[in-house]
Structure formats: C-alpha cells, structure tokens
C-alpha cells in the first residue's frame, strides 16, 4: 500500500515537473525542474529494483548533464524567452492530435494491467543471490554487451573531441556577420 502511495505521489510530481520543464519561460527554472524530474525518476527506478541505474541516473543526468545545461545558460546569460517571432504552423492541431494520442495510450495502459516479473532469467531474487544488482549488471555488461560497451567508449571520446573542436573560439571567424 505504502509503495503504491509512494509511486503515485512520485508519478504526480514527475508529471508536474515535466510540464513545468516545457512551460516555464525561464531556462534556469526549467533546468531546476528537470533536475527534480530526473531525481524523482531515479526514485522510480529504485522502486523497480534498478538501483544501479538509479545511481547512474542521478550521477550522470542530474550531476553532469543538467549542470552542463546550467553552466551554458549562465555562460550565455540567457534571460526568459522572448515573444514569438515565427508562426508555428497549426499549433492547436498538433497539441490536439498529441493529446488525443496521449490520452488514448494512457487510458489503454491504465485499463489493462500487467503484473511485473513474469519468468525471465533475472528476477530480483535471482539478482540478489547472484551478488546484487550492480554485480549482475556488470556481469551482463562485460560479457554479452562488451562490444557495444567498447564502442560507446569510442563514442564518448569522439564526443569530447567534437565538443572541444566545435566550441573552441576560432580566431579567424568574424563575430556577428
């Protein structure tokens, strides 16, 4: 019971935060809500027995990515968003369509139920006996997913280089042409 209460409370807060992220005019406040969103999501992950992913979620998303966003916002010293200069085609229609799709999906999802933990190799108990969530994830990651893992390390290296190259100040470049 308490677990369900916790989930619905968290879900409600996540919904509120998500809405605030996209509707708030001020980028910094949006970022703060995004942090809240990610933090709460980590809690949801933990409730799904995914402790490692939850930790990673906070560590990387909240601790690094959003900090980077904040940092850039502060660096560019961005104020609240100005008035629209561009007409977006048929916004009402898009919102309508998306909302209809959303409600249909959510409705269908909520009406049908699917209990967690059917069959499968790694039930929470199996993971516990195998040496814990982190251990088991590491085991799977470094055996079955070793190549994707290595490739992702190359991806990160590339991203680092790309970020440096792109953001580096080009002395020859004319500012504000």
């Amino acid at each position: 019971m308490s677990q369900e209460l916790m989930f619905y409370a968290t879900a409600f807060l996540i919904t509120v935060c998500s809405v605030m992220v996209v509707t708030n005019r001020n980028p910094v406040v949006s970022a703060i809500y995004l942090v809240g969103d990610l933090f709460l999501l980590a809690a949801v992950f933990a409730s799904l027995d995914a402790h490692f992913v939850a930790a990673i979620q906070v560590l990387v998303y909240a601790g690094a990515i959003v900090v980077l966003f904040m940092f850039v916002i502060m660096l560019l010293n961005l104020g609240p968003e100005g008035k629209a200069h561009l007409r977006i085609p048929a916004p009402e229609l898009a919102v309508l369509v998306l909302t209809i799709i959303g409600f249909t999906t959510i409705g269908t999802l909520l009406l049908t139920g699917q209990a967690p933990g059917v069959g499968g190799e790694w039930s929470p108990e199996a993971i516990q006996t195998n040496g814990g969530n982190t251990f088991t994830i590491a085991m799977v990651l470094f055996t079955k997913f070793i190549w994707p893992f290595e490739i992702s390390s190359i991806l990160i290296l590339l991203a680092v280089i790309a970020a440096i190259v792109i953001a580096k100040k080009d002395k020859k470049q004319v500012v504000h042409d």
Partner: protein, 368 residues
C-alpha cells in the same frame, strides 16, 4: 488499547525498524549540526595559535569564558536575527532554494556513511547507517555531484556579477574535480570488490597495513586533493576569492541564509572527512583492536562496541577536519588556470594510470 498491547506493538519488526531509523537519523543530524559551531571556533583559534596571537577568547557566559567557545553561539544568534535582504531582480525560488540545497546534499551523503558494524537488537539486524545501500559508493558520488547546484543556483539567482562569476568558477571547478574524485575511488572498488561502504570497512580490518591508504596510496592523495576542491576550500577557494570577487557566489546572501551556507560547507567538509576515514582509514575500526575483541572486552554488549566504533570514526574525521584548517592556513591560493591544469592534466592522468596499475595488480594477484 492497553499498555501491554502497545508494548507488543513496539516489539514488532516494523516498529523496531522505525524506531531504529529515527534514532539513527537523530544521531547523524545532531552530530552533523554540532560540527559547524565547533569548527568556526577552531578555525579562528587554530590560526591564532599558529600565528602566535590570541584569537577570540572574550565571549563567555558570565565568568566562564571556555576559551571563547561561546563565540560561535553569539555569531549564530547575530546571523539569525539579522534582517533578511533579498537583492532586486533575484530569482526568488532559486535564491531561497540554494542554501537549503547545500545542507540537504551534505546531510544526504551523511546518510550513507556507516558509523558502526551491524547490530543485533531484539533479534533484528540493524545496519548502523541511516540507509544501508548496496550501491552506497555510487550513491555518495551521485549526491556529491548534486552539490554543484548550490553554488550554481546561488550565483545565478543573486543577479550580481560577482556572484555569477564566482559561481561559474566554482561550478567549473567542481565538475572538473568530480572526475578525478571518481577516478580515485574506482581503484578502491576494484580492490575491495564491493560498493557497500560497510563491507569496505569490514574488509579493511583493524590493522593499519590492510587499510585503504596502504593498499591505494595514490588514490588517497588524489582523494585528499579532490576533497579540498569539492568543498571549495583553500587552496582551491577561488569561488570566494575575497580579493577578487568580494565573497563569490554568496556575496548577496546574509542573515540566516548565509548561516545556512556556512552550515552546508562545514557539514560537507565533515561528511567528506568521514568518507575519507571510512574508505582509507578503516572507518569505525579501532586501530590494532579487532571488533570482535572489543565486543569481548566490553562483555558482549554490542551497543557499547558500536559507541566505541562511532567515537573512533569521529576522531578520525576530526583529524581530517584539522587537516582542512591546517592546509587553509599553510598554502596560498591557486591561480585559476593552474587549478584547471592540475585537475585535467595531472590528476586525471594520474588517476587513470593508478586505476590501470591497480587493476593489473589485482588481476595478477588473482592470477596467482
């Protein structure tokens, strides 16, 4: 409901769990909140001692001066009763959120630090940390990465140039030093093979030659440097370089919120000191006397052994707190590019090499 029923209810597992949790939270909270006043006092008396002067020693209760210990109380009272001034153009939410966030993250980390071995009370096993996580290590890294927001939010929301510059500096510094911090801790995970902090303490044992500092000395040095950088303490206190930025990110803060920053800073210093003791110096293990021996010595009373362990941990952490103060009054401040260079060009490569060497050694040991 009669008294008997109430007692029976108290003896159920859930009740014991809840009561234990409340006690643990209280202990951690009380200890952590006692740190800043003492530290404020030490930080004024210690340099006075080093510089052969007296330091604050006047404030006392009637004739008991207590070496000026009451000075902290007086300062707190002053700060709390000051008028609150919120700068114009400040973002209210972020402005009020920032100091709270600082205290919040510091206390959250404190939750994961084990201050004693598992206790058996009424047939129930209770881990002596507020939350017993099997990913405690990751939890600490994750939460400590959130500490940046305090600085960032405070600097940005104050609507002041000095604060913004200070917070830019501080956030870049904290992001940069988080990487070597993580790098310095990974070898520990490799060596002890667990992310559970209490497990790490247990496997270090009571004898100093098996402690983390002996097994991973490079890690310890890196961690020590990162400790200073992460808490924005001297010699890495560029974020509040008073000669350049007035007071950095908390320039525009005063009264109770300023006190909250103080609180957050000292608590996080304390928590990191506890962490250093836990990871590198055997945590609650008393040197040379194994836990089992202590339990035997006190006649099998687990809880007395736990209190001894707790005291040992506090003593070890106090040593690091002293190091903080000591370093602050010994080393000059870094220049900003030097700081970044140290982080990226020295600490990170050293951390990586350290990790590699540790992994190789562990592999070799396992091989044999």
């Amino acid at each position: 409901m009669g008294l008997d029923e109430l007692l029976a209810l108290l003896k159920t597992d859930t009740a014991i769990e809840i009561i234990a949790a409340v006690i643990k939270i209280l202990v951690v909270l009380v200890v952590c909140l006692q740190v800043p006043p003492v530290m404020v006092w030490i930080e004024r008396r210690a340099p006075a001692m080093m510089q052969r002067r007296k330091g604050p020693n006047r404030v006392g209760i009637f004739q008991w001066r207590l070496y000026g210990l009451i000075q902290s109380l007086a300062d707190t009272v002053k700060l709390v009763f000051k008028q609150e001034v919120v700068p114009r153009g400040a973002n209210k939410v972020a402005y009020h959120l920032a100091p709270i966030f600082g205290v919040f993250t510091a206390l959250l980390i404190a939750c994961a630090i084990p201050f004693g071995n598992d206790l058996m009370i009424f047939g129930q096993k209770i881990g002596l940390s507020v939350v017993r996580l099997d990913v405690g290590f990751l939890f600490i890294l994750a939460i400590s990465s959130l500490a940046v927001y305090t600085v960032t939010l405070a600097g940005w929301s104050s609507n002041s140039k000095y604060a913004l510059l200070g917070s830019l500096r501080a956030s870049a510094q904290m992001i940069s030093y988080e990487i070597p911090l993580g790098m310095s801790l990974v070898p520990i995970v490799v060596i002890f093979g667990t992310l559970d902090l209490n497990q790490i303490v247990v496997s270090q044992g009571a004898f100093p030659w098996a402690w983390g500092v002996v097994r991973a000395p490079v890690s310890f040095l890196l961690f020590l440097i990162c400790m200073f950088a992460e808490t924005n303490r001297a010699p890495f206190d560029l974020a509040e370089g008073e000669s350049e930025l007035v007071a950095g990110f908390h320039t525009e803060y005063n009264s109770a919120k300023f006190a909250a920053f103080f609180l957050g800073e000292y608590v996080s210093m304390f928590v990191l000191s506890c962490l250093a003791s836990t990871i590198f110096f055997g945590g609650w293990q008393a040197p040379f006397i194994p836990y089992e021996t202590i339990v035997k010595l006190v006649g099998g009373y687990n809880w007395i052994a736990a209190i001894i362990g707790f005291t040992v941990l506090i003593l070890k952490a106090s040593f690091f707190m002293w190091v903080y103060v000591w370093v602050r009054w010994t080393l000059p401040r870094f220049r900003y590019d030097q700081l970044m260079g140290l982080g990226w060009k020295f600490m990170l490569p050293v951390g990586l090499v350290n990790l590699l060497v540790t992994a190789l050694v562990m592999a070799a040991l396992e091989f044999h």
